[in-house]
């Protein structure tokens, strides 16, 4: 799936990316008065197959290894490149898409094309197959970093939806005692948030806190409801049960305090770290409980990860 997307992206890019953006700007050029005997050294030391001949910023010809060999083969005396260069030069305009350049490489079999600014006719650089590949790679990279930044904000969903106030509400019912189903709510909430493009660190914090709350509902609360309300700024989670309630909330919030029965501890839960974990993940945490009536828990999370986002760790 991902690979397919990348191919589509490159297909788009060969039309979007212009020759002028991909071309190499620092190129070796020759003046018309350069002597033929000097050409070999220039081509060799720069590892190039041809060099444009430039006079007053204008392209007047190109001298290639072929031209040089022909000159050697004929045994002609040394002369300025002006006399031996190819005058009929195939060039590309700056504003052409690179797909045209790719076609030209196939059509003419040249290694490079001079690039010309359409309006002024000025010579501005050279383009090779390598430049095209590098240009495409760079464009993809820029695109990806742009995509990553925008897709993690979660805001794009809201930005593209027209209304004065938007909020999303997810509600989940949790059955008591069914420990084998514990985690289903947190797991599906986690998936929903990642579909919405929320920042991974925020998802992680929400998932951990929800999972702890969900297990509490199953173990102590005899079931209940988890409501998640997401607006443009925040994710607010409300966890409600009509269970036995908590007699001493301060005590229950202490790390290590637990009233978990053995069967719960045997499964690895009930170490008395549930509330402390929730508190460290959420940036607002509130709990109300009445014995015999039930417990309500509110947790809040920012929608966007800030620079100095604390890890979900006490």
């Amino acid at each position: 799936m991902r690979r397919l997307k990348e191919i589509h992206k490159i297909q788009e890019l060969v039309f979007e990316l212009k020759v002028g953006e991909a071309k190499a700007e620092k190129v070796v050029t020759l003046s018309p008065t350069t002597m033929m005997s000097e050409v070999r050294a220039v081509l060799k030391s720069n590892k190039i197959a041809a060099a444009p001949v430039i006079e007053h910023d204008s392209l007047i010809g190109i001298i290639s290894v072929n031209d040089y060999i022909n000159w050697l083969a004929k045994g002609d005396p040394d002369c300025p490149v002006y006399e031996k260069m190819s005058r009929e030069v195939v060039f590309l305009f700056e504003d052409e898409p690179v797909v045209d350049a790719i076609k030209s490489f196939d059509k003419y079999g040249f290694y490079e094309f001079p690039v010309i600014e359409r309006r002024s006719g000025r010579f501005t650089g050279i383009i090779t197959r390598r430049d095209i590949i590098l240009g495409l790679l760079k464009a993809i990279e820029i695109d990806y970093s742009k995509m990553e930044l925008s897709s993690y904000s979660g805001r794009h969903f809201f930005n593209e939806t027209a209304a004065d106030e938007i909020s999303l509400l997810f509600t989940y019912g949790v059955e008591g005692r069914k420990i084998q189903r514990g985690g289903e709510v947190a797991s599906s909430l986690k998936r929903n948030l990642s579909y919405l493009g929320i920042h991974p660190e925020i998802i992680r914090r929400v998932a951990i806190a929800t999972y702890e709350a969900e297990m509490n509902l199953i173990i102590y609360g005899e079931g209940g409801e988890i409501g998640v309300r997401m607006d443009m700024e925040r994710i607010n989670i409300t966890v409600k049960d009509t269970g036995p309630g908590i007699p001493d909330i301060q005590k229950a919030l202490k790390p290590g305090f637990s009233t978990a029965p053995d069967w719960v501890r045997e499964l690895g839960f009930g170490a008395g770290m549930g509330f402390p974990n929730m508190q460290s993940c959420a940036d607002s945490f509130e709990i109300h409980s009445t014995v015999g009536v039930g417990t309500t828990l509110h947790m809040g999370f920012p929608l966007e990860a800030s620079e100095n986002l604390m890890e979900c760790n006490p």
């Binding site: 420990i179 084998q180 514990g182 985690g183 289903e184 947190a186 797991s187 986690k190 992680r204 998932a207 951990i208 999972y211 702890e212 297990m215 790390p255 290590g256 069967w263 501890r265 045997e266 499964l267 690895g268 839960f269 170490a271 008395g272 770290m273 549930g274 974990n277 460290s280 890890e311 979900c312 760790n313 006490p314």
Partner: protein
């Protein structure tokens, strides 16, 4: 239910409740190992692996307490545990643990494996106790850190 809990799991509970948190944090160590190396070191049986993991394991943890696992923060990590119920997979999913190794020859139930498959978590099982498995990996990890 009780007979499925081994001695080292009981010791694990005592250890974890007794040890101060800050010391506990140090029970994970940076130093990377490839999955294949880990399998070799632990002489482990691979219960589930469909090539989900690329690159190295950065962090190794051991715990038999869900809450402790939930307060881990590294995602490319390996968890050594004696817990084999499906909730261990749920817990690992929340913190994005990629590999779980069950110690003491423990084998998880079908539904645990099924859940791990959905979440693309690699499952291993080793005959070694938690203590020995940790010791072996600790030595290897330190060696990989030095080189």
């Amino acid at each position: 239910m009780n007979d499925t809990i081994s001695l080292d799991r009981r010791l694990g509970i005592i250890y974890h409740s007794a040890v101060n948190r800050s010391i506990y944090e140090r029970s994970s160590m940076k130093g990377s190992l490839y999955l294949e190396e880990i399998v070799k070191i632990l002489e482990a049986q691979v219960l589930l692996d469909e090539g989900w993991l690329r690159g190295k394991i950065e962090t190794i943890y051991c715990s038999d307490l869900m809450s402790d696992i939930l307060s881990f923060s590294d995602s490319r990590s390996l968890l050594l545990t004696g817990l084999i119920n499906p909730q261990i997979i749920r817990t690992a999913e929340m913190v994005e643990i990629r590999v779980i190794c069950f110690v003491h020859n423990k084998l998880p139930h079908e539904d645990t494996i099924e859940l791990a498959k959905q979440d693309e978590i690699v499952l291993l099982s080793t005959k070694f106790s938690m203590y020995e498995a940790c010791g072996r990996l600790y030595i290897a990890q330190r060696a990989s850190n030095i080189t």
